[in-house]
Amino acid sequence: MVRGAPILKRVGSLPDWALLLFAGLVYLFLYAPIFVLMFFSFNSARSTQVWEGFSLRWYAELFRDQSVLDAFYTSMVVGVTATAISTVIGTLAALALARHSFRGKTLADSTIYAATVMPEIVVGVSLLAFFVAVQFQLGITTIIIAHVAFCISFVTIVVRARLSGMDRSLEEAAMDLGADPPTTFMKITLPLILPGVMAGALLAFTLSFDDFVITFFVAGAGASTLPLKIYSMIKFGVSPVINALSTVLLVATLVCILGGSRFFSRKEE
């Protein structure tokens, strides 16, 4: 600690250009590979190292590949279904945790947070073991179940953050004015937490759409999502088609995340 101080001081006294250089290098390290990948998805040649000219041929090829389209379709079905189910369950869980006290609440509370930091590989292996044990046919259904399982926690956490910022007396005021509990929920609670619910849903969709590790374990032979497809393609060598597919995945994810953060930070006018 004490010895560290002079070093810190030295860093602190670095000239501005050096700090800028450091920051720039960090960003370069983080983003350069991704930009290179995206860049070469537009290359007209097969090479992923030498630029020859702009072209969309790899995207065209991508969308002609039936197995890629199948994987995309599977990802969408899984994403939408898992999002819908986990959003409903996660929102209800958030309401229960924020509004009621019940036995085992502390336990329920901490398990929800624990689930978000659980190593994916552990979740994947245990889910696989579970499905095998109950002799559940692996396929799109098991993927959906697995995705719902890990998305719920995230939805709950996001919705709960929104709920904790909401004045409890608003619901009391609604009831005071003659609204029964269902009406209070539909007219007051839901509209007020909706930004949180939407943000949670988009987060769930993004997580589901991107997930590789857990999906890898529970997909079985029949179903393949986009990340699984990319993995299987890369086994046959890097091709610009993979670059194009990765770019599509990246853009889709970014759109979801940006949309979600805009929703979540939206203020009441």
Binding site: D167, S169, A174, E268
Partner: protein
């Protein structure tokens, strides 16, 4: 305690025969786990009355109001609104409305929809909703603000929306929890007058919670002074001020000088007391206030009832310690020979001679203004 209350308050029959009660509490107790927030409360609030619950923070005012509104269930006792027992009746089926301390305006709805919320739940026809909401807006001077969202209103305007939103439903009883607490002093004074006028015009029973004794005194028909979940005294503002039941009420309502001492003699209402400092005090015990010779008793005299001079049942020499000019009056702190300190108010009239700190003075007051307090 309760015995004394019933004895000192004019009996119910005397104050307008069979005045129907809007809210009745009978032995209402509220416990949170082991903590008793409201302790065996029994009182009736009459129809059309401006009734206040007054007391320091944490004395159980809000809890009492929340039980009337239906957000909390009494642990024990019975609560009736308009004669109907309320046990098991949810808030949305009670003929009462609440103005919340935080206003609790719905942030996603505009002023119109906030005010219309209760009417929509009651399935009032659209035309009537429009008419009643604009009436309510006019009543609280919010016409023209119907399409504003609450966040774009000032504190005073939000307060009015909260009021209109409750009043538009024409409740039997309006519950108000420190509704003016968040407003600045000037606005608060204005709203006090407006609220009082409104209550008078509409004839709705108001149950008003406040910790501000001045506010309660100026607005209320009757006040229940609470401490630690118990009613200390339930009375009109004038009686609370002139005939406080105990030391707590005397100290909480207005400013007062209290002395403690041993009772030397009791002759009817007249009591003589000797303080530890050696003062011999002539005091007055209202009917029903038990005073036993030889026991310890407390007496109170209001600062404005003390005069400078030697004429009075109680007259003592002392020295002026402090002088504070208050505008319409001046406050003097006088230290008596025995070491007791006394606060004296004197109206500021031009001919009044000034006394400064250090002056030797005589102070005097009558036995009738020196009240023996209950415990």
């Amino acid at each position: 305690m309760r015995e004394r209350q019933t004895q000192e308050r004019p009996p119910e029959a005397a104050r307008g025969a069979a005045r129907p009660a809007a809210v009745e509490l009978a032995g209402v107790t509220k416990r949170f786990e082991d903590f008793v927030a409201v302790d065996d409360l029994t009182l009736s609030i009459y129809e059309g009355e401006f009734f206040s619950l007054l007391g320091p923070s944490g004395c159980g005012k809000t809890t009492t109001l929340r039980m009337i509104a239906g957000f909390e269930d009494p642990t024990e006792g019975e609560l009736r609104v308009a004669g109907r027992p309320m046990r098991g009746v949810p808030p949305y089926r009670r003929p009462v409305n609440t103005v919340f301390q935080s206003y609790a305006l719905f942030p996603h709805l505009d002023v119109f929809e906030n005010i219309a919320f209760g009417l929509r739940r009651a399935k009032v026809p659209k035309d009537e909703i429009r008419r009643r909401v604009s009436e309510a807006c006019a009543l609280v001077q919010l016409t023209g603000f119907e399409r504003r969202k609450p966040a774009r209103l000032s504190g005073g305007q939000q307060q009015r929306v909260a009021l209109a939103r409750a009043l538009v439903n024409r409740p039997k009883v309006l519950l108000l929890d420190e509704p003016l607490g968040a407003l600045d002093l000037k606005l608060r004074k204005e709203m006090q007058i407006e609220l009082k006028n409104l209550q008078h015009e509409l004839g709705i029973t108001f149950v008003y919670v406040t910790h501000d004794q001045e506010e309660a005194l100026t607005m209320s028909d009757r006040i229940a002074v609470m401490k630690d979940g118990k009613v200390q005294q339930l009375d009109t503002p004038a009686n609370l001020y002139e005939l406080p039941a105990n030391r707590f009420v005397a100290g909480f309502i207005g400013q007062t000088n209290t002395f403690s001492g041993e009772v030397e003699s009791v002759r009817g209402e007249r009591v003589t007391l000797r303080t530890a400092g050696g003062l011999e005090l002539e005091a007055f015990a209202p009917a029903g206030r038990e005073v036993v010779k030889g026991s310890e008793a407390h007496v109170a005299v209001r600062p404005e009832k003390v005069r400078f001079g030697e004429a009075g049942d109680n007259a003592f020499a002392g020295e002026v310690r402090d002088v504070v000019y208050l505008g319409s009056s001046t406050q003097y702190v006088v230290e008596l020979k025995g070491g007791e300190r006394l606060v004296v108010y004197r109206q500021n009239a031009r001919e009044a001679a000034d006394s400064g700190a250090g002056d030797e003075v005589w102070v005097a007051w009558d036995a009738a203004n020196c009240l023996v307090l209950g415990e």
